[in-house]
Symmetry: D2
Subunit: 242 residues, 4 copies
């Protein structure tokens, strides 16, 4: 019997203990609008001549995250994807967000190579091909940066009895961080996966990843994909033996 | 008649326009637990031998913020203070927060020189003397980092017709940032006051303050106290002339 | 110039004043799962031999509501529809709701004549044909009874500057009432349309409609479709003259 | 060992199973403003010459609730009180509520025999003497009708691991019902105590208490104080034997 067996993942500044059945991996906004040429981020970074470079940076989490997702599937850890996108009529875009997008040269809802920017059911609002959800995995569409804002995420987590969140995705300093902060206020134990997150500029990613090291009481703990996969694999080995 | 006259505050990367009557200054957690010797922050930073230095850093916003607060009072901009504190029975401290505080050597609710750490109605949970609220100003007690979590803040703002928030306080990377992110999801236009915020280490403060410069569509705009006071004073001058 | 002209709708116990541009009609759950043979409600009422009768009762609002919706369209009052439905994987069905549905003989997610009960994208979760939304009207999918729970409704209303809600739909005692209560806590001014709501048994509908008459300070005011359409038509007449 | 032993309370239309440690009794708004002469309710009902009668009706739950509270204390079921009250500066009173209170002749914040109506820290906003909380019991101050609106209630319940709520207080048709509806959306299993609730007119109380009988899948189950105390006592007996 291995039910309710606690796992330990090596992390900084202290280890993260969790039960697979009460843990979920959040894969935040790994969608074409942020991680593909022609998406929302590419469009506004291109105004500074940095579109390609930015997309390249935001694709870096794909490889390690693929391994983490695979590992979660094997260990029966829930995988939940979020997608930032808006209604086609833009009814859920507040004026602060719309105005900002216009000023940076990538109006939400305008047409781009991947469809309308940050709009539902366009190519831009699909999870990148490498990380496609499989049957049984949840996708949460969110109009805000924080994945808990105006969504059913908290309800889904409570219904499943999830108390521990492993957080990944883009961008480290925005949707990832906003979601992590709210998750902690709501009482979830959090583990951030450093190499499964990214932001531009890179310095911003690095600064946010320093926060758990400096103030884990506020920001939770942090590790990388390798350590997390290793913790999961120890389970799987045990299960196969069991 | 000067009612409904829009003001403009010089900011980066673009200016912030606002009406005094629909704007509020948020003064976040400028309380003894973060800004005084013997408070919560002092206690856990002292474990690394950095308590005094940390408190000194977090007191830096007091002087510029005093001027901003005074200016807001004259211009009839609402001033709203938040205080992070918990019930004496700690019923509103989630386990992730309690465990973290224990591990960093400053258990929430334990006794310190300024009373029980991060507990309501103790000396630690009072706004620092230099910034004491005056009659007619609101204080919002919050159990979380984000000032919107489990509080009446949003309701108070809506009732007053507030649509624009000027954000200050400590710490830049935690309660200030979490509040700013949620404020933006809820549609508030935001202006961060760089020299009226602080965090330890300083690099973390600096990194967060770079975010509006890099991505204003996500994080709003930023300025300093001088620019904001100047914008307010222009109103006051006009009003006196009027 | 008729912009910002306030309208008055005769109501009990006092009249309802509103501006068309800051008012929305909420059409709650007028979907086949409640208003058509073979839907969720029909299935569980049929256990008591009352399925047909119940559906007949819940269809009574369709005729008056059609007139109200048409009137709102002409007067440029926003029309917002809610639909109660769940993810195909039922991840957003809490155990209290699932267990209840099983016990009353109509498990959420089980197959019925109109598709899986209370599940998204089935015939049961479509608005009844007579009230089909037109382009530009919003639909809010909700997992709960209250339309504000885990949805973007509040955000959409704020973004449009909506402060006044005209509330209709089914069932009077459940989703309509739960939504009305939350709307009032959030500060919206409310007008309930008695003949545009329904519940089974009828006595329950009647009792809820007595509440505004007894305690308008808590439940807002109430009227019928004729009075509301009349108020709207006065606008339209003025506009045509204008 | 009797830990984690499930109890069963006879209820309609089906029994309520619960564990004492994950159950809380909610005592809603049993405060002088609703249950004492000179309070808010007395003031506005007196406009119709029904003040004394209304208070008498709202005091009826006191006796059965006293027994229930005592029983919960013995069985280690959490007892949580809510109080509806506002800030002295009325910053948290939305205009719909304020206007309604003025129209019914009892403006929130105006002076009455028990202090300012519906204002914090007045005699009116204290729990009635007969039901005074004891050390270790939580009080949640709420600005709205629903106890979850703009309060830390949900957070406190989650932190304690509460999944089942026993609901009592006044008034049945307003704060009790609004809280019950939101509790159910949030996934809590609910049991309403009929004789521990009251409303005026009585017909309104009766109508709301019919709802669980008609639609338990939506409103949960209902019982009376005697049945609930009996279920609790069976525990106590077992514990004493144990």
């Amino acid at each position: 019997v291995i039910a309710n067996r606690s796992l330990t993942c090596s992390a900084t500044p202290w280890d993260f203990e969790f039960l697979p059945e009460s843990t979920a991996l959040l894969v935040i906004d790994m969608q074409n609008d942020f991680c593909a040429l022609g998406g929302y981020l590419h469009q506004f970074m291109e105004q500074k001549g940095m579109g390609d470079e930015a997309v390249k940076a935001l694709r870096e989490p794909i490889a390690p995250l693929s391994r983490v997702v695979q590992s979660c599937r094997e260990a029966k850890v829930a995988v939940i994807y979020t997608i930032e996108s808006h209604r086609p009529d833009l009814a859920d875009v507040p004026s602060n967000k719309m105005e900002g997008s216009v000023r940076v040269g990538a109006p939400i809802g305008s047409s781009g190579p991947l469809g309308r920017l940050l709009v539902q059911n366009e190519r831009g609002s699909e999870v990148v091909d490498e990380l496609k959800p499989v049957a049984g995995e949840h996708i949460v569409h969110k109009p805000g940066k924080c994945a808990f804002f105006a969504t059913e995420l908290d309800s889904i987590l409570r219904i499943r009895g999830i108390t521990h969140l492993v957080i990944s995705g883009v961008t480290t300093d925005c949707c990832v961080f906003g979601t992590l902060m709210e998750a902690r206020d709501r009482g979830y134990h959090t583990l951030q996966l450093e190499d499964c997150c990214a932001a531009v500029p890179r310095a911003s990613h690095d600064a946010i990843c320093e926060l758990p090291r400096a103030h884990p009481q506020a920001f939770g703990v942090i590790t990388n994909s390798e350590a997390f996969v290793k913790a999961m694999e120890s389970t799987n080995r045990l299960e196969r033996r069991g």
